[in-house]
Amino acid sequence: MIPLMEKELVDRHGWITSEEFMEIITLSQTMPGIFAANMAAHIGWKLRGVPGAVASVLGNILMPIIIIIALAAGLRQLQGNALVEAIFKGVRPVVVALIAAPVFRMAKTANISRYNFWIPVVAALLVWLLGVSPIWVILVAAVGGFVYGKYLEKKEVQS
């Protein structure tokens, strides 16, 4: 999606520079929420303020929403249909694998090491086996990252 956006916004329309585009990518990744929607909001806002942000987010998500609703309603009608059930029986284990696979890719980009690998392990075990809400894990991780950052800062000042 990023190359597509860059082509349209930077090359074709010239609405923003390549540098601004990279900046918006960084910001959109830093913010919570859905990356594509964040990108759209940032770019719309930069160009035309709040109405621009609303317009570009709507433009970004409206078609997917309508397609999904049509599919959801259609599949609902077919609920219990032997053919659909057979197809999904084959698909379900593959979906689980598709969710599991990015874990290993993400671990690499998260700079996992022998000093910090306990963080994802503990997070996974808390949610998987103890039923802790992922939201608590995220809150604790954010606070932990903040405290650790402060600690590093202090150490730097002292040395």
């Binding site: 929420g33 859905i34 929607a37 696979a101 874990v103 290993f104 993400m106 894990v137």
Partner: protein
């Protein structure tokens, strides 16, 4: 009142979603299946599958579909299901959207701040664990079948899981292609 709960739940999911579409799948799964009980694990898995092969950001797709299913499962007409679908997808982007308008300028000035960087790197590690947990929670008899019911389905499911896992990591086969192939296998084995 399910609409209020839907709004609140998806606002929360949007606000705490760091780390992309798969992180959001982990959050939505926990909220709509485990906490609220709006749908079964199998229904949720089917929603993720459908969202994978549909254009658009997967987070939006799953939110939209889950909103529809939650409302219709609660006994409302499909019309209200459509309302639930829109409500869930708008709620999930609402708070990040407001945050962008309010603090993106500030963030831009501080994007090299070491404390912000530390927060983000710990978040990334934790989110990796959350996605692993989401995958682990999906491994059950609803998605894989059970030995008691059908050994064939269980073994085929394990085979499909392992091949998809390798296909994703080793050869980077696109999720859409994998789902289409798995659907064809399901059709051949379970329907014919």
């Amino acid at each position: 009142m399910i609409f209020w709960k839907l709004f609140y739940t998806f606002c929360k999911i949007g606000l705490f979603n760091f780390g992309g579409g798969y992180a959001m799948i982990a959050l939505i799964q926990n909220e709509v299946v485990e906490k609220q009980g709006w749908m079964t694990m199998a229904e949720f898995t089917d929603i993720v599958a459908t969202s994978q092969i549909t254009p658009g950001p997967i987070g939006i797709n799953v939110a939209t579909y889950a909103g529809y299913t939650a409302v219709v499962n609660a006994g409302y007409d499909p019309f209200w299901g459509v309302a639930g679908a829109f409500l869930a997808s708008f709620s999930v982007i609402l708070l990040p959207f407001i945050l962008i308008l309010l603090i993106s300028k500030y963030l831009l000035d501080h994007k090299d701040n070491p404390i912000l960087k530390s927060v983000l790197s710990v978040l990334k590690l934790a989110v990796t664990g959350l996605i692993a947990a989401a995958a682990a929670l999906l491994v059950n008899s609803e998605t894989f079948g059970s030995y008691a019911e059908s050994p064939l389905q269980l073994f085929l499911s394990i085979g499909l899981f392992v091949s998809a896992f390798i296909a994703s990591l080793r050869w980077k086969v696109s999720p859409i292609l994998q789902i289409v192939i798995a659907g064809a296998v399901g059709f051949l084995v379970y329907y014919l």
